[in-house]
Symmetry: C2
Subunit: 506 residues, 2 copies
């Protein structure tokens, strides 16, 4: 029907989604592979995005009484072993420090020297090492709740890595709290999930489904793992944040005890919760198009780029002065409680300049040429619209409307993603339909399949495992916001009281 | 003469300075030792201090065009070896990762498994791994200058550790820049030193001496290491920030080349610069007294603590309402461009409450009792004055004067530290005087000695080494801000053109 249009990213999403992803990461200058297996280099554009995520999360954490702290990157092997399920879950992917210096070997080359008495594991997560501090800090009910968060790096030695989504080292935050009662810890677990939901939907414009993991998919050592699950444009699910109710499991293994109000002694109830640089992968795959990244304005490192256009050298100073003045006027405007982030790109490189910013996903591009100046106008393009769709606006009108325009982009992205998720979610009650839904129609493109299936599940691990085995489809979560209704398990026909979310996942 | 007063910290500075330091760290709740050898746990009060340091530095970096990015924590051994002096400098204190999983050993216990082909070093600093990225990112003079900073953790396996001052893991920032000319790189080296100077003096209220290190004290691989040196209250020097001009050394070893304007090819000129959580140690030892920490207001996690006093239960609601209202009024006031940071301590624990905040170093403590409320007054104590020295002020006057009062505390701390440094710095021209100056008078207190000596030095490594050997005194820097004058080396009598700073150091 329509002719093939030239796109900035090759291949397109439809042609090869996984490769499209890698090309967007590259074209938008977010990150690089590194010479260290499975580790990434986060470039300034990607890191600025992470800083914005950090700032919003950090503000929300602190508003709930959480304080930041920092614990050692190394965990003694014996600590990791304290919680049996926990060490089992992480043993296969640990970076292990065995030596504390380098020495000249027999051939004069440097080799590891100074063998440690006990190997140290580079933290894959910090429950055990933070638990050790909690045990020291907590002695009375008056010390509770203890609400701590850590920003840092963790290492999980992944065999198959993909930038932002699965890397051996990644950046994240991990919250750890201790409480006097189970109810309070469960409330905190839910509260932090709502913080992640707010980050995803209000800031990243990523619609999510809130729910609990099945026992098979839980964090090793947790009693309940709650999560938010998002749908990417290849219809696969991405877990975008988790909040764990740990019961007294870690309190018992770390010996976190306290004197209760009625002077008995009790183990504390703990939670942990985390979100990582993986969110950037989710952002790319939720909003990006065949021209590259599309950034929701609240998260964009720069929300507006000004592109002064100088055809004749004699116009230069006039155009630059007008541009500088416009930047100042924009920076005096607040959006989402912060001054607008505006960049001027002064390079003389022709059309490549506009395309650079399209690929980087900046919400608004503003061209300023001599004619616009005589008309006291600007020429505005929105990243969420086709790139040729530009609008001439009087300067004053643009300044008056700019925040509304950004709000519209922000809301539009969320709405578009919601509609996509809805369009690719199906209620399925028949096993054959279920298998057909998840079976790729085209062998060349194994990634293209139905999407999310809302189906009944009896709660049995065997049914869950069979579907995973047959289709690489897992239960993403037992969602909170669906009605309780009697039904039959999609796999075995056994009784079920609600539908769960089945999907392929990152 | 005066009777011995009770102090909150035991021992006092005069009794045992090193132990006083440990006790202040503990009493102020800044940090803890950890079960991992040489690693510390930074507690919320200490981490909030670090966040304030980060925010001020980060703003200053960005104002000079620097962008943040993130690079892998692991450095392949072969990378570290690229620069000979560099690897020599760090080989003895590296944490080395040799395995990538844990396996069940013969006795069923977990042991390191999955031997890596090449050992990975946990970064002690990132010149070599960042250099690898720079080599990829830079190809033309148009890519220069490249101005990058990284916030993160580093590991240097120290045999003797002291919390904040020398720990195996610490938090820091490391800036790395590449330039087209030596002059530009040298200018950047100086610019970043001036940023550190501003942080130290204007924010931490720590007066510093700017200068260059001698060849023997330079960063391994640098052409010039510039530093700021501060004096602690035991008269020892603390290096509080360094900025290195690396010449083309690292560019050559990492192959960072670019096409120049006249189309020849050249190696880039690079710099690196860093400041760390060590600054917190410097802050403690510059301002702390025998009652604990004293925080400069610009850096304090809380600048004002409100202490509602309830003697009779019937007064409670009135006192709390007045306190809440005062907190709101204070938070609406800006100090140093940011809203005042105010905490209310509602605990009913009597006098211990005020002492907690004295030990934590909060600049202003405000007591609010029923009588103050009837008088529309507050009762204010300043941390930089004796703890009994409290002032009743009308509420309105307090609100009007509070920023001036904080400015006075901030300026007073810097002035007091400057006076201390001046009082313990001597111009010395005679070798015997020099040796006497640095020889402790009391064998029981080996830490008590003269202070800084401003003496001539001929530039010879042998003289420098002899003094270090005899007295554990080093040349802290060749200062920028002293006059050029002919003189004779304090050690050998050889010709010298300026005085340098000799001191014992952390």
């Amino acid at each position: 029907m329509s002719q093939k249009l030239k796109t900035a990213i090759t291949p397109t999403r439809a042609e090869d989604y996984p490769e499209w992803y890698q090309q967007v990461v590259k074209a938008s200058d977010l990150a690089d592979r590194s010479p260290v297996r499975g580790c990434m280099v986060i470039k300034p554009w990607g890191y600025a995005l992470w800083e914005n995520i950090q700032r919003e999360l950090d503000d929300m954490f602190k508003a709930t009484g959480v304080k930041n702290a920092y614990f050692p990157i190394f965990i003694p092997l014996s600590f990791l072993e304290k919680e049996a399920e926990h060490v089992e879950g992480f043993a296969k992917e640990c970076a292990v420090v065995t030596h504390h210096r380098l020495e000249k070997g027999a051939d004069g080359k440097l080799v590891p020297g100074g063998l440690l008495n006990e190997p140290l594991v580079v933290r894959p997560t910090s429950e055990t090492i933070i638990g050790d501090s909690f045990a020291k800090w907590i002695s009375s009910h008056r010390d509770l709740p203890l609400l701590i968060n850590q920003w840092g790096n963790v290492v999980r030695w992944e065999m198959r890595t993909r930038i932002f989504l699965r890397t051996s080292e990644f950046l994240w935050q991990e919250g750890h709290t201790a409480h006097a009662t189970a109810a309070e810890a469960q409330e905190r677990t839910a509260l932090m999930l709502s913080v992640y939901t707010r980050l995803a939907e209000e800031f990243l414009a990523i619609p999510v489904i809130k729910g609990s993991k099945t026992a098979a998919e839980r964090f090793p050592g947790a009693v309940d793992t709650q999560c938010i699950e998002a749908m990417m444009q290849d219809c696969k699910a991405l877990q975008a944040g988790t909040s764990h109710f740990l019961g007294q499991n870690f309190a018992k293994s770390s010996n976190i005890r306290f004197q209760t109000v009625d002077e008995t002694e009790s183990f504390a109830w703990t939670t942990s919760w985390g979100a990582s640089t993986r969110l950037i992968g989710g952002l790319i795959m939720t909003h990006g198009d065949d021209d590259g990244l599309i950034l929701p304005p609240r998260m964009a490192p720069e929300q507006i780029v000004l592109l002064p256009i100088v055809h004749k050298e004699e116009d230069r100073s006039k155009v630059m002065a007008y541009t500088d003045e416009l930047a100042l006027a924009l920076k005096a405007i607040h959006f989402g409680g912060r001054p607008l982030r505006v960049e001027i790109d002064r390079r003389d490189i022709g059309g490549a300049r506009g395309w650079d910013w399209i690929k980087k996903g900046v919400p608004l591009r503003v061209e300023i040429g001599p004619r616009d100046i005589s008309n006291q106008a600007v020429f505005v393009a929105r990243r969420d619209k086709p790139h040729k769709d530009k609008q001439a606006l009087p300067r004053t009108q643009f300044l008056n409307q700019v925040t509304a325009m950004l709000e519209e982009v922000q809301a539009g992205l969320l709405e578009r993603a919601r509609a996509f998720q809805k369009a690719h979610t199906r209620t399925i009650d028949v096993l054959d339909d279920f298998y057909a839904y998840f079976t790729p129609r085209d062998k060349e493109k194994p990634e293209i399949h139905g999407g999310f299936a809302m189906s009944h599940w009896c709660g049995d691990r065997t049914c869950e495992a069979r579907i995973k085995e047959d289709l690489t489809v897992t239960i993403r979560c037992i969602p909170f916001d669906v009605p309780q209704e009697a039904g039959q398990c999609i796999c075995c026909g056994g009784p079920s009281s609600q539908r769960v979310v089945f999907a392929k996942a990152y």
